[in-house]
Symmetry: C2
Subunit: 325 residues, 2 copies
């Protein structure tokens, strides 16, 4: 079975690790996985190109992730960051780890030398032996900016600043995926989507992780040709992690598993979703969705470890198979 997964960082990475674990089981030996990762969170700091979602997926699947935090490297230190601060070089709100920094140095040097981000990603992944294909959504530069009313004026700031410095506490008026409209999907992305038996939307932020990927011309069109199962990032009316509620509020969507499904829409009515996987606790909230054209299944969605993530990943594949994938 060929699966293409559209993903952001932490939640999507853990889901992918569950999916990756399936490939080692007898039932799923033919499973091949392509992850198409959001790059809207990417930022250049100290002239280093930082791709948080690509790196979180890479480290998580490669065994290098800090499991507690969900992002960044195990046994991380922040010596360079402290020194930069001692020089007065900000921003303080981005915690640049020493181990993580080596990844950015290599990426930046390769990008400066003219390599495409997808080639750089493949080169970095060689070390980590992640067992899946990891593609950035595009080799073009796309950055999510947030429009806010702050200090009496409307302004835009980089998503990372809004998320890390302001902890998403300033109400977002809108999100702009700067560069997306003229971007091209990275090599392999459209093919992976078109050739997939099923496409899975990882339990990532619908507004700032999934939406930027779909904003790259050609990607949504390719997705709409194949069966799509979404995994809810919302459990019992709350984001599993991060500030998804602040993002959903900006696009007038409730922080609710059913509301997010309706936001993506039923394929039968021109939307993305054929299936929707929700947590057991959202069984009732989502009871009406199947009748609305989104076949919904409830399973435990808390990824406490690899086995629970794997069970949930398997449920998404089984749902896709039920839908004809």
């Amino acid at each position: 079975m060929r699966v293409a997964v559209i993903t952001g960082g932490v939640g999507g990475a853990r889901f992918l690790r569950g999916l990756q674990a399936l490939t080692h089981t007898p039932q799923w030996t033919d499973l091949s996985i392509t992850a198409i990762a959001n790059i809207g969170d990417d930022i250049t700091l100290h002239d280093l190109r930082i791709c948080p979602d690509l790196d979180t997926v890479m480290y998580t699947l490669g065994g290098g992730i800090d499991n507690e935090r969900g992002w960044g490297r195990t046994d991380e230190t922040f010596t360079v960051h402290s020194e930069l601060t001692a020089y007065g070089a900000g921003p303080a709100w981005f915690g640049l780890g020493d181990r993580d920094l080596a990844t950015h140095l290599i990426r930046t040097q390769m990008l400066n030398a003219g390599y495409a981000l997808s080639d750089v990603t493949a080169a970095l992944c060689k070390r980590w032996d992640i067992g899946i294909e990891l593609l950035p959504m595009s080799n073009d530069r796309i950055e999510t900016h947030v429009t806010v009313d702050h200090d009496g004026e409307r302004k835009a700031m980089h998503f990372q600043q809004w998320w890390l410095e302001h902890k998403a506490e300033i109400p977002a008026q809108s999100f702009a995926f700067v560069g997306a409209d003229t971007a091209t999907a990275a090599p392999g992305v459209i093919a992976a989507l078109s050739e997939a038996d099923a496409i899975v939307l990882a339990p990532s932020n619908p507004v700032v992780s999934i939406a930027p990927v779909l904003a790259v011309p050609g990607i949504k069109e390719a997705v709409m040709q194949r069966p799509v199962v979404g995994v809810s990032p919302i459990i019992a009316g709350a984001a599993v992690r991060g500030y998804a509620d602040a993002c959903l509020r900006a696009i007038d969507v409730e922080t609710d598993a059913a509301a997010v499904a309706r936001h993506f829409g039923a394929r039968a009515h021109g939307g993305l979703l054929n299936g929707w996987l929700v947590d057991d606790s959202d069984h009732e909230v989502c009871a009406a969705l199947t009748d609305e054209g989104i076949v919904t299944k409830a399973v435990p969605l808390w990824m406490r470890d690899v086995p629970t993530a794997s069970a949930m990943a398997e449920a998404s594949l089984l749902l896709a198979q039920d839908l004809g994938a």
Copy 2:
């Protein structure tokens, strides 16, 4: 008294620290110091611009140096370097410290933004409060390359590779200060030399630290207008540190305090030196120099700590004053 010091890394930096300490004594309150540092050792690794001599002077005067090693930061760690190695990104022979790396990140970012190296150096020095003016010899890119016969062919390699990877064990045929012939002295360099009461050649490598500075058009001419005292980097026929013997051999100069003085030459005969400070142990070896036109004085030249460096620095100033500075 205004002093301009032409300097390389470790030895020159320690000498400058001795000189700096003098400014806090009642006799030398009017002492102002400009250090003109070699940049021929500079190298770009991982797209970071690294200026070892500028940084060694800055860290030494700013209290950030590792005193044991003589270069790099105190309490240094090498986490980023280990990670780069794990990615297969060399070279292994350049030990890039985590604390040190922050300096390179800021420098590189400022250079990329169009700032001149002298402005970058001033910006970095603000943190370290070094108490002297530190100037790179030039804002142009100059790198020392070494011609060697290696593996059956004549080739050139960056000075750092020859010094660090090969430990200067491959005989050097010649040194080229690539870029020097078309370079311009950094702003302030010619003025500092011209306005100096005395110019001091720090106890740095004559071939790869002092010579590259003098190779920048205009610098030697300015130096020749003022009284010059050199401090011997050779004591009792051996380099105090580093591989000066391997460098001197390439230019057919003996590793000997008198031979180095004769290499610089007596001002009376068109050379650089008015005075030459040697170690007590070289008193006899250098006995003839004064008659040859280089007024030579013997004092203890081992810089074991700041007081011994300071005594030696003071001796160089007193010699310059004796010579009319």
